[in-house]
Amino acid sequence: MSNLNINPQDSAVTDLDTAFKPDCAQMRQTPVQAEAGQAPRAESPLYHADLASMAAKGPLEGGVQLQELSLLGHLVIRGSLDNPAFVDGFAQVMGFALPGKLASVEQGDASVRWIAPDEWLLVVPGNEAFELEGRLRELMAGHFSIVNVSGGQTILQLSGPDAVKVLKKSTGYDLHDRNFPVGKVVTTTFAKTQAVIRRLDAQQWELVIRRSFADYVWLWLQDASAEYGLIVRG
């Protein structure tokens, strides 16, 4: 949700108390790794689709490839670019700055997507989210929020020469090179749900989708790519 500064008085009001440290309840949400084999089973939003078996059985040729990047750490970061304690805190922890409008940054295992003028999505390996949130909270100040949504969404990668056609069937946003260069991120409608779409490469795209809609999106993508041939990667 964007928090547009549409009230002209707002900037006057934004007498940022950058020293304020919000008192929030950060919580470790994944089990601390127990002895091997003892860890509770985690099920990604598309666990039930058993993509690994589909990949083993499925066709090896086709114009579209699909893969779920499951069980990653997803942190929704909210804050104002006018708040240096927020902006600098992020840069200090991550080693790179928050991306600007509709842009993304990827470095090592971490990637961050601009979602809205006051919102970013940071994705890291699943077992790093808690510690990372802690360090961000430590170094950030003023008005900001961090929400761990690792269980609430998942990532699909769609690639291949016909991937863009599948996307064109699914969203009204303009996906042409001129409008959607590599690295761009857009949150938009996707069939009858929504997705955060990021272009990873000329023929490679990433969708961040909500958990409860994952099955619908999975059915939709299978259907939309049927005429081109869908290769599932486990």
């Binding site: 928090n3 549409i6 008192d23 929030c24 939003p45 008005h143 929020s145 929400v147 761990n148 690792s150």
Partner: protein, 1015 residues
Amino acid sequence: MTSSNHVQPNRLQNGGRIDRSQPVTFEYNNKTYPGFVGDTLASAMLANGIDVVGRSFKYSRPRGIIAAGADEPNAVLQLGATEATQVPNVRATQQELFHGLVAKSTNGWPSTDNDLMSYVGKVGGRMMPPGFYYKTFMYPQSLWDTYEGFIRKAAGLGRSPVENDPDIYDQINHHCDVMVVGAGPAGLSAALAAARTGARVILADEQAEFGGMLLHSDELIDGQPAQQWVSRVVGELVGLENVTLLPRSTVNGYHDHNFLTIHERRTDHLGDLAPKGQVRQRMHRVRAAWVVLASGAIERPLVYANNDVPGCMLASAVSTYIKRYAVVPGNQLVLMTTNDQGYQAALDWHDAGRKVVAIVDTRAEPTGACVLEAQRRGIELIKGSAVIEAKGSKRVNGVSVAAINASGERVTGNIRSLFCDTLASAGGWSPAVHLSCHTGSRPEWREDVQAFVPGKTVQKQLTAGAINGSYRLSACLEEGVRQGVLAAANAGFGQQSDDIVEIPSVDGEVEQTAPMALFHVPHTKPTSRAPKQFVDYQTDVTAAGIELATREGFESIEHVKRYTAMGFGTDQGKLGNINGMAIAAKSMNKSIPETGTTIFRPNYTPITFGAIAGRNCGELFDPKRYSAMHRWHVENGAKFEDVGQWKRPWYFPKPGESMQDALNRECLATRESVGILDASTLGKIDIQGKDAREFLGRVYTNAWAKLGVGKCRYGLMCGEDGMVFDDGVTACLAENHFVMTTTTGGAARVLEWLELYHQTEWPELEVYFNTVTDQWSTLTISGPNSRKLLSELTDDIDLSGDNFKFMDWREGTVAGVPARVFRISFTGELSFEVNVQSNYGMQVWEKVFEAGKKYNLTPYGTETMHILRAEKGFIIAGQDTDGSVTPMDLGMGWCVANNKPFSYIGKRGMAREDCVKPNRKQLVGLKTKDPQKVIPEGSQAVADPNQPIPMTMLGHVTSSYYSACLGHSIAMGFVRGGLDKMGESVYYPQADGSVIEAEICSPIFLDPKGERQNV
């Protein structure tokens, strides 16, 4: 039948663009006929000499093919070899022929050739003037059902299949810089010019081949046959990656913001069913920076007596059939024309080796080059005359020709009869302004071309070619190039210069002489007495009918249209509208511009429902949302209930159990031991920020200032009007951190509500909202044994009643997974809501069941949840509220704090005079006199069951169940002044005449002191 060798009586030996190496057969009205790939269904029907293709709507007159394109009003057929593949509303002129095509005529009852209605038509014709249906069938109303069935049966233009369509229809989105509509000479040159700038270009044309009229033209472009120019341009466009070519694609809608909808028929030309895996039809949804309309023009037929007899055709259509399909649709032609272009049909007919009886030119002294051409071929030319009447019934067998005066208003000479079987008429051209009209633009009349052309537009739209009234090929090509260059430049591509595409030259183009404006051919009798002169074939509107409408006082052309039904057919009056307006204008002594024109709406031609629905059907009709434990519910036999888009377990029947059996068992097990509910679907909103607490105080009716960390509180949310719209429990996670729960169906609405108020009213409050509905799986463990059960799964949460009180929450580990546990209760029992990250929801759920076996842990669904909460008198927002009840009406005044320093939403609303007046409807409990009787929800309360209808309604039942725990039925409902009527009886009359009596009581049926949950 191998009938490809059968004689096609009207097929020429040579010529045309059909593929003679691919003979096919098709079926029309249960007879098999031969044709070729490259034919349309219409050209194949004409080749086989099929005259009658349907019966007219009102008078049931035999009708034949008139046109060769989208303007065809009569040959609207039903296609489909099987029940599942039935397609209505197919214009034979636009359907490509394929082997095995099965077509039927639609509007003939009982059959096209022998039509019962024709007797009604002949006898009753005079009894069915315009407005007939309004005047006759409206009264008496009781007979409407009878009338309607008769009218529908008689008027049908096809039927829907009763089986599911096996084919795939889908939709795709596009963006482009220049969208070119129509691939005739203007469209092709526009597309090429724009494409060469590097702009993204989409070119769409409704025909299978690009080229438009050039496909049957003899003209030379750049010294070559026009068809070669077409091939060259199309060849270049195909090779450009910035160009998308859409043949067989009708641009059917031109909407706001240069958004266009295009209906592509991808496999309709291949067979009855799409080849396996292929999409039959695709709707392209195009957002264009600039649009060039090059949609051409439609020839106007002339309006004369009996102008609907099969064999009466458009002159241009005759040429098209001869040149493009090698079909001469008759033997002896009479051509009537008001202009030079019309002659071409007669020249083509003659050159095909068949007889042209005469050319009847309505102009007194035609002088164009065409006259010489006709004379050179020895064709008789009758000048200053008109065909005033056609003869014949199922086929033209002659015409009456007479001299007319210069203005075309009266017959001045004697009638001369000619024998012929085909009468072509050429009344000039009407630019296809339809798409321009879709955008709200009103067409403007141009006297010099005697036509309406696109008027002022608010869209980024250009026009080129015949749509502008530019009918000369050289003008079409030039406008195409210029507008293509301009559109691209406007979109930011190329320089606006001429050298990007050289304007092709047209050799030996002849100057056209002035046409005559003739919209209604006179007859010796007055219009009202003359044989019918049809203006709109599909809706059977005649010149006399239009004159009658104006005499009856309909002056606005829009009223004339509605009164006569002119233009209301599936063809939207493409042929007849201009003639009709001109006739109305003349009848009212007004000019055409004074009278104006009706405009067109999407769609240009009918679209299948399949293409409109796309893939949003079947499993994909609407998203189905699932919790992380859904698989378990399915495996354990749950019946599901739709709650918004969520699939929630409704109840879990065991083999042999009825629904009520299952509910009784689930309720008792929960109250006696322990039950579990998947509550993951409840909306959850994470709220962080310095002002989070203040914000809560403003959106909830109750107080939040003092809620401590580790505590939860129930809250009511009202609209500005003071009416309850959602409720839920919010927990204080930390001083600046809360998590709010909402109803399942209200989650998105509540989040939007919070954002709306934050962004528009209180942007100064430092708070962020994020949905975490999908993030947490919620397991509600409820019942006297819930503590024991949970204690087996956690070793780091002190569950004792002293240290973990009702409305507290604790963080810890459940079944090895980090969890937030809320001690809140919607059942009135000791109850814990365990929230774990959703990836672990299933794992924890399974572990709870492993440990719960010895407590007879029972899964329950939404229905048992409803019963258990109703036993406690807890409301469900949306079931017990309907946007018209205040907290006080619900007896929940305790949940309203009017002493908060800042106001809250709804405070003023609920203090309105009407909201505080006595005797409002209030929520109460209802105990039936017969304890086994469950009052149907929605039943209306009355004080006196014997009062005559209309009875005085006191309220209605909102929730009603059988309570196994209490051994009797329970209900909640609204009763006027109910809170002051405890112990009184109210009555609920039922549809079957019975009456259920109930006593008004407290809605808290069970454990009014709350002892069960406070243990």
